[in-house]
């Protein structure tokens, strides 16, 4: 097996989704590492915004929470949360938002609220936070989640953050722009069919088969005709992740592939 972990592969793949000049709403963990990797590799003009209000961050250590003081020191701006949501997100300035959750379904809807019934939950999850508005108002959304029947059911128990809802044009009909663009899991990468808005497998991580995917997803997922193998992280990417971004292995080393 190559000298990189699955998490590093996910970080590398997510980084490639970011363009130079993108304004990116960053979360902690894989998203933060992906954005910082893209910034160092091919997107020096990328602008990081955290929902805590820090804009244009240059963290000198790995931020542990979205409100880490290292995001403030040396940043280009710190703004009230009212401005983050009104003037940046709702105004349409956010090109890419990263989201995760407990469940993502066939149409990219995300659940981070409850497993089971809302009033009598089997598991009470943290809730939306800023996820619902990122899903509704960012231009593009990139989702990262584990690949399993539990985490990728055909229909989520609760739509915290809207994807394409029931599919087709339903999202547009409700007046929402954008939508999920990419789902990156520990087994592969999915995009959304431009007509049906259904998740389609477009890339398999090295060593994973379509059969494995089908055993670990809650519906009979479609496979793109031009299915490829996910390109592995380059040595330079691995070096940056390990030496610069997460030298203590807080987010990534524990999940060695």
């Amino acid at each position: 097996m190559a000298d990189y972990t699955t998490s590093e592969l996910m970080v590398s793949r997510a980084a490639k989704e970011l363009k130079n000049g993108d304004v990116v709403f960053v979360g902690i963990g894989v998203p933060s590492l992906a954005v910082n990797l893209a910034y160092r590799m091919h997107a020096p003009g990328l602008c990081m915004i955290y929902e805590s209000g820090a804009v244009g961050c240059v963290p000198t250590r790995l931020p542990i929470s979205i409100g880490d003081p290292c995001l403030v020191t040396g940043s280009l701006a710190v703004v009230p949360m009212l401005d983050v949501f009104n003037l940046y997100l709702q105004r349409g300035l956010i090109d890419v938002g990263f989201l995760g959750g407990a469940q993502v379904d066939r149409f990219g809807n995300i659940n981070s609220t409850v497993i089971g019934d809302y009033r009598k939950p089997k598991v009470r999850l943290p809730g939306s936070g800023g996820a619902c508005e990122i899903a509704a108002l960012a231009k593009r959304v990139v989702i990262t989640i584990a690949n399993s029947k539990r985490t990728l059911p055909e229909k989520v128990d609760f739509i915290t953050s809207p994807g394409y809802l029931g599919g087709g044009r339903e999202r547009e009909r409700l007046g929402l722009r954008g939508g999920p663009e990419l789902v990156i899991t520990d087994m592969g990468v999915y995009r959304f069919d431009p007509e049906t808005r259904e998740m389609v497998l477009v890339s398999l991580h090295p060593g994973i088969t379509v059969g494995t995917i089908k055993e670990n997803i809650g519906w009979d997922v479609k496979v793109a005709p031009d299915l490829i193998e996910t390109p592995p992280p380059s040595p330079e990417e691995i070096r940056i992740i390990r030496d610069e971004l997460d030298p203590q292995g807080i987010f990534l080393r524990s999940k060695a592939g």
């Binding site: 710190v78 949360m81 009212l82 809730g127 939306s128």
Partner: protein, 301 residues
């Protein structure tokens, strides 16, 4: 007129059983000292409002102070679930907790509507989410200009808001730098405001940089000098977030007994924040911030 008093006096005078209280600060400047004093004074039937309940409300819930919670993200940031919150919601322990659930944007708008004396504010958020289905507080309004329907959230007007800040003068003119969160909006929305600060400064310090003032003395009821009052959260330019404590909270709070032992030792068992700092010992000094001063600007004319 000086409003400086002890935390004990501020909570005794301005927080009542049954109040709707807010203790804001988005990861930054969370007013833990105020939270501990509320627990010590055994307030009950409180409604707790806050975007991220965080450890501060997990502690209030575990101590039996809360009847209801208004929130948008209930987790231990970067660590996992809030165990006391989950026990209350899933099992009704130590008592059932009603929940009133929004999103961050929704909470911010609710405070802003309250601060502006408006009944509601509109947003383009919320089409498609199930939150509007389970929470009847979300309502729709039709734009009189574009014939679109927009979701609205209602004003939130707390009885008391508590915030922690880097500095204030004795009248409560309060300055913050680093992450702003929603403290300003929550304070203006509130009937009473308690400000705790790292430093009570002469008004001339405030007046040397008036653009940094986020809360005017005119809306402040009490000023409490409470160094290290935000620990285990952080104060930009003061001390770092105590990430180890956030990690340890997962084990401390996993069972009711452990959490009770923590409260006995660190809250009920101590008279005030000064005793808490003393008990922390050397850890306190490890968290102190490095110096990285801003370039001063000229206010002359």
């Amino acid at each position: 007129m000086s409003k400086v008093m002890s935390m004990q006096e501020a909570i005794a005078r301005f927080v009542r059983d049954g109040d709707l209280i807010v203790m804001e600060g988005f990861t930054h400047l969370i007013p833990f000292a105020a939270g501990h004093e509320i627990i010590r004074q055994r307030r009950k039937d409180l409604t707790l409002a806050r975007l991220t309940p965080d450890l501060i409300y997990d502690q209030l819930i575990a101590a039996g102070c809360a009847r209801r919670m208004i929130f948008s993200w209930a987790g231990n940031p970067g660590v996992g679930p809030l165990h006391a919150f989950r026990r209350a919601v899933e099992k009704g322990q130590p008592r059932p907790l009603e929940i009133d659930e929004w999103t961050h944007f929704g909470m911010v708008l609710r405070f802003m509507a309250g601060a502006s004396n408006l009944p509601f504010l509109p947003t383009r958020n919320y089409p498609g989410t199930d939150l509007t289905r389970v929470n009847p507080g979300f309502k729709k309004v039709r734009s009189p200009y574009t014939d679109e329907e927009l979701w609205c959230v209602p004003a939130l007007n707390p009885d008391v808001t508590m915030v922690h800040a880097q500095r204030a003068d004795a009248e409560g003119n309060t300055q913050v730098w680093g992450l702003y969160g929603v403290q300003k909006e929550a304070a203006f929305a509130s009937r009473r405001v308690i400000v705790s600060v790292e430093e009570v400064v002469d008004a001339k310090v405030i007046r040397s940089d008036p653009n940094r003032t986020i809360i005017p003395g005119a809306i402040v009821s009490a000023v409490v000098h409470e160094p290290f009052g935000a620990h285990p959260s952080f104060v930009q330019g003061g001390y770092d977030r105590d990430n180890d404590f956030y990690l340890r909270w997962d084990a401390i709070s996993r069972e009711e007994a452990g959490l009770k032992a923590y409260l006995d030792e660190w809250v009920y068992g101590l008279p005030d924040r000064a005793a808490y700092i003393k008990k922390m010992g050397a850890r306190h000094r490890e968290l102190l911030a490095d110096r990285q001063m801003c370039e001063p600007v000229n206010y002359g004319f």
